[in-house]
Symmetry: C2
DNA sequence: GCGAGTTCTGACATCGCTGTCATACTAACA
DNA sequence: TGTTAGTATGACAGCGATGTCAGAACTCGC
């Protein structure tokens, strides 16, 4: 049978309460008692019951990660980052896919908390902006940290990257290569990052004195198919763009496919840039110039913030990076 | 404050035990009592404490998914499939990345179970073949189901696809197109599926009366880089293959990249086939002919088996499917 | 050598449920 | 009417930890 605190206390000749103190690294345990207890725990291969600790105490040693994102790479990196931090902290991770747009989301979150008594929650974009869910967390006084929130930034601790600057940098790179007609594919409307990236694109054009042309901008949804559709429209223009900057790698992959299908020679006939630097980016042909979003690190930092339990909201901004590969080059002379 | 069973019982004018009976859908509750209790639960927005239920009862309403796989797509599909079934069952899912080769794995699994008292465990390949971990599960009498196990098939319930037949089918397809020199890239040695796929490749060659040539077979590790490396070696042969069949899509992507880099025209100069049908396959150029592995369905079926709690091990085999895209074609005449 | 403060320890109630068991009620049959 | 089997219900203990609190055993300064 599983060993319990009682077994340990009997073996170590102390009260159960003292065992509990050792387990929780509380103060006021003599060196002697501590050693006897630790010895007994090891001998019995004692593992405390999470359920009992949760019921009796104020902690559950579990946190939840709530996400709604259809990019497996993104999710995977988020999970990996949070997970790594949880291991260090000795805390379990409950994965909670969800639908950010659902009216039941707040209720689900409430249920999750009431049932599991998680010690904290990490929200990844776009669930970060489901205000009703945030209300629910706050009503219950559950600490939470948001990854790349799009709104109400003051409301909680959060981690993020500078989407505007990143898109500005990438656009600037294309301009520096000599491009003047630069297409842009907007991301999913649910994600506030989409607006920010569009803004960065416009800011860079503006600074370079290039007119913003709405016809060069298409709406996408962060997926491959919408990238293909947008590319088809852009390349059918009488004066097609010489470069296309897609708000994420999946859509950029769609652009590459359309270009190949049309028999264009890349990057001579068309430069293509993405955003995220998912594994996909380096597996495409030609390898994709993109913005490296520090997803794993963001997730790790978010978990760190959660465990630090700051009084006031803290915001951490992590650096992005331009990853230049073979999908971008100077435009062919007209 | 959160409502407890006591609050519900007071409001419904029954004992706490009766509330518990309704909650657990036990027999022997009058229609009248049931309705009053349900009403009270709804009014109070009652959510049972998972910790208390676990401590008092024999179930924890949690299962764990243990995996060690570096393909985000694969993991994502596995998670999604298991998750979908958990939702239906009202059970929470604990995600547990791990290292299948680690000597501590069994200990970690033991700790997981002792601490969380999960009701069951789903293992995905290659953790399925960590025998020490299986021992640990059996010692504790925890039901578990394996997804695509490689060994000791009789030992537990499992779900799988027919890797041999799938690889045979794909190889057969290439032969039917007219290929005679067909390269093959083996998967990671940790995964038993790797051997099975190799065997399927050989079986198809054999049936077609084509000699098996070791020089056309290279070892890979299921990742992009190893696909590139293998392709470089194969294409440097004096008589290079006219088709390359990689044991997964990531490695096939590496082959495509090498082919592009060498200026080959695809699929005329080289046919390329993959395995898995991850999202990647359709995002590459040319779109990849591959085997659709029903990953999500396998995961869903595994969870279903787990909840069914069969007496004896049950095995379910799900069908694969050849997905023919533009990366394969008849070889150019010599 | 005494009070004050700090360190250490254990008794006991308690967290919110479920398992066990005793009991009461109902319908069906001899 | 009495017996039996099936149905319905609640009292109560207990799951395995932690929180609270009281008290004992050490320090220290004077």
């Amino acid at each position: 049978m599983r060993a319990t605190i009682k077994d340990v206390s009997a073996l170590a000749q102390v009260s159960t309460k003292t065992v509990s103190r050792v387990l929780n690294k509380e103060r006021y345990v003599s060196e002697d008692a501590r050693q006897r207890v630790e010895r007994a725990m090891a001998d019995l291969n004692f593992r405390p019951s999470a359920a009992a600790r949760t019921l009796a105490g104020k902690r559950s040693f579990q946190i939840a990660l709530i996400y709604d994102n259809h990019s497996p790479h993104y999710i995977h990196q988020i999970q990996t980052g949070v997970w790594a931090r949880c291991i260090e902290e000795g805390v379990r991770l409950l994965a909670q896919p969800s639908d950010a747009a659902s009216t039941q989301l707040a209720d689900e979150v409430g249920g999750l908390i009431d049932q599991t008594q998680v010690d904290g929650v990490i929200l990844s974009s776009p669930v970060t902006d489901a205000l009703a869910a945030l209300d629910e967390l706050e009503r219950r006084g559950i600490p939470y940290v948001r990854i790349s929130p799009g709104t109400e930034h003051g409301r909680s601790s959060s981690v993020s990257m500078d989407d505007v600057q990143a898109a500005d940098d990438m656009t600037g790179h294309l301009i520096a290569l000599g491009h003047r007609r630069i297409g842009f594919i907007i991301g999913h409307t649910n994600h506030t990052a989409s607006d920010l990236r569009l803004f960065g694109y416009r800011r860079a054009l503006d600074r370079a004195g290039i007119d913003f042309e709405p016809k060069y901008v298409r709406q996408g949804h962060f997926d491959f198919a919408s990238g293909e559709a947008a590319a088809d429209v852009l390349l059918d223009l009488p004066q097609p763009p010489t470069a296309i900057f897609a708000s994420n790698d999946d859509m950029a992959a769609g652009v590459l496919t359309v270009a190949h299908r049309r028999g264009l020679s890349l990057p001579r006939d068309l430069s293509v840039a993405g955003f995220d630097d998912t594994a996909l980016a380096s597996q495409l042909w030609p390898p994709l110039t993109t913005v490296r979003q520090p997803t794993r690190e963001l997730a790790y930092a978010a978990a760190t913030l959660l465990f630090e339990r700051q009084e006031d909201p803290v915001h951490r901004r992590l650096a992005h990076e331009l990853v230049l590969r073979a999908s971008t080059a100077a435009p062919a002379p007209e």
